[in-house]
């Protein structure tokens, strides 16, 4: 309720109140960006860009949803391009030779740290490519350590839907990893 009031005030012209929103959510946005990109500098950039985007698009806010859920969308969309570019950078080295090793995440080469990183990024890229409705739920589950009930509450959807979406999302990831 308070948050909605705050947004309404900002929209009415009290622009300086936007600082409160940044203060409240910068930790969340920064950590989520870091979780997706595994890079602090990039996470910082994304955070700034996401809030700038939010500021100029605040009038599009759907008051039925929450700001946090909306931020999930903005951050993941914003990271899409960055993850795609990352993939090129990270994989152009020895993409083909790595291929079979990553199936299901079994690594057998000499540099497990690098590979773990690779696998982790690849996975995040795949997560970010999931359909919007699965994506947010799965990220909530892993990034915020939320259980099904908590996700259902945050997203305002039934428990059974959360269960089905998480199952489907994981199936999609499973297939992608198998075939990558």
């Amino acid at each position: 309720m308070e948050e909605i009031e705050l947004i309404k005030k900002i929209l009415r012209g009290e622009r300086e109140l936007f600082k409160e929103i940044v203060e409240k959510y910068q930790g969340f946005v920064y950590n989520l960006s870091y979780w997706l990109l595994k890079d602090k500098t990039e996470a910082e950039d994304v955070t700034q860009e996401v809030f700038t985007k939010l500021y100029f698009n605040l009038k599009k806010f759907n008051f039925k949803s929450t700001l946090k859920n909306w931020l999930y969308k903005i951050v993941t969309n914003h990271c899409k391009d960055k993850l795609r570019r990352k993939k090129i950078n990270a994989l152009s080295l020895e993409e083909t030779s790595y291929q079979p090793l990553y199936k299901m995440g079994y690594y057998v080469t000499s540099n497990p740290v690098e590979e773990n990183e690779y696998y982790s990024l690849l996975l995040r890229k795949y997560v970010n490519e999931l359909p919007e409705k699965y994506k947010t739920i799965l990220i909530m589950h892993y990034f915020e350590n939320k259980d099904y009930k908590e996700i259902a509450k945050a997203m305002k959807i039934p428990y059974s839907t959360v269960r089905v979406y998480i199952f489907r999302a994981r199936k999609v990831l499973y297939k992608k990893l198998k075939h990558s």
Binding site: K19, V22, G27, N31, Y55, M104
Partner: protein, 205 residues
């Protein structure tokens, strides 16, 4: 790969979403015998290891992030405000432009003289000769012949014509050769060659 029908149950077990003891025991037993589900379970573990963030990993945003973010917004906003104002208000120019166009068009339509319909008629009985063709020539058609039609029932030649209001001189041309003034004209005027032109004046009509 074909998936076992208990895959979802295995997932719920893994996520500790199973509350029923019987189900838990069932999944545990099933996992020891189903290879597909074991693989699925290992994959879930792997996902967890790679994706789940531990509480120790929570980062504190850099201290100047807030300031930088707000500065960035300010910068963007000032750029937006500095946009040549013309770009912002040029659409408003369209309004007076549209209004003036509408006014000009309306003025032209309203002030331009409306065309009127006049009827040229020549009765067969008005003339002593056999008529095969009657045309009208005048100022309104640059003295080029326009044929009248014969109305059998009324035994007359007739033509309806749309012209602008004004005063015109005209004549009938009978059988393509004989020039005659209209016997029923509003008036006549000398043409300077010894003949009389008929007069058509819309103001008198």
């Amino acid at each position: 790969m074909k998936r076992c029908k208990y895959a979802e149950l295995v997932m719920l077990y893994f996520d500790k979403e199973l509350t029923n003891e019987e189900n838990i025991t069932f999944v545990e037993k099933h996992l020891s015998s189903c290879k597909t589900c074991k693989e699925w379970y290992d994959y879930l573990k792997k996902l967890d290891a790679s994706l789940r963030s531990s509480s120790s990993e929570v980062l504190t945003p850099p201290p100047n992030l807030l300031v930088h973010t707000l500065e960035k917004i300010d910068r963007y906003e000032s750029v937006r405000l500095e946009k040549p104002s013309f770009l912002k208000w040029w659409p408003y120019l369209l309004i007076p432009a549209a209004v003036s166009i509408i006014c000009i068009v309306a003025y032209t339509i309203l002030t331009s003289p409306k065309e009127i319909i006049v009827k040229f008629e020549l009765r067969e009985s008005d003339l002593p000769y056999t008529i095969t063709k009657v045309a009208v020539v005048g100022d309104f058609n640059n003295w080029e012949m326009e044929n009248l039609k014969f109305v059998t029932r009324e035994r007359k030649w007739s033509l309806k014509k749309r012209i602008k209001p004004g005063r015109y001189h005209y004549m009938f041309v009978i059988n393509g050769t004989i020039w005659l003034p209209d016997p029923n004209a509003e008036g006549y005027v000398e043409d300077g060659y010894g003949n009389k032109n008929s007069i058509l004046d819309s103001n008198i009509m």
